[in-house]
Symmetry: C2
Subunit: 120 residues, 2 copies
């Protein structure tokens, strides 16, 4: 996986365990896409200090994942649920030519699976 | 939710963030169902010390959940996925009287959803 995407995902899961300052700098860098220099200017600290905070925060997030493995489990489940969803869509297409099943019922199941996928 | 079930679930998610000693005592109490006195005897510490460790561990687990909300999110998703699964089973029963869809395909989707539910 792309490093930035991976760090964002770790931050989504474990971000609240970082200090408030770490969270702020992390978000400025990864969400708002500011450069180290821009963050340094904004917070009136050195570029090196920004770099150190990002480095330490990243190591903390990776240490949480190493212990808890919640992101890894989540990704395995998402992959499986995505497959089930795609297959369900195929099934629904197949049943569209058939009036044996109420289409509203099919839509309800599909929406539930899609809702879980988009929420997580 | 039942308090013991809730604490077990919190431990499943965040247990590795406790100290090794906290984890050991937590497991003896909640998984092996030993009494405070039995744990005290086994570890050669006082009953009060066991109680204090359990109390502190529980507070730590609750503090992690308060920050991360991963158990709450997980439970909402599980409830939704359970509903989708039950409806899918109904759909499958409905389609059993119909030879429009390959039964193996239905089984494959059902197994994937069940697998996610049982794994989590």
């Amino acid at each position: 996986m792309d490093k930035t995407l991976k760090m964002s995902l770790l931050f989504d899961f474990y971000g609240p365990l970082l200090t408030q300052r770490q969270q702020t700098i992390y978000q400025l860098y990864f969400d708002d896409d500011l450069s180290l220099g821009e963050i340094a200017d904004q917070l009136k600290i050195s570029r090196q200090a920004v770099f150190d905070v990002l480095k330490r925060s990243g190591l903390s997030l990776e240490a949480f994942e190493k212990k808890l493995q919640l992101v890894a489990k989540h990704q395995i489940q998402q992959a499986l649920l995505n497959e089930a969803y795609e297959q369900f869509v195929q099934l629904r297409d197949l049943l569209n030519d058939n009036d044996f099943v109420n289409p509203g019922f099919l839509e309800e199941i599909q929406n539930k699976i899609r809702h879980i996928l988009s929420d997580s």
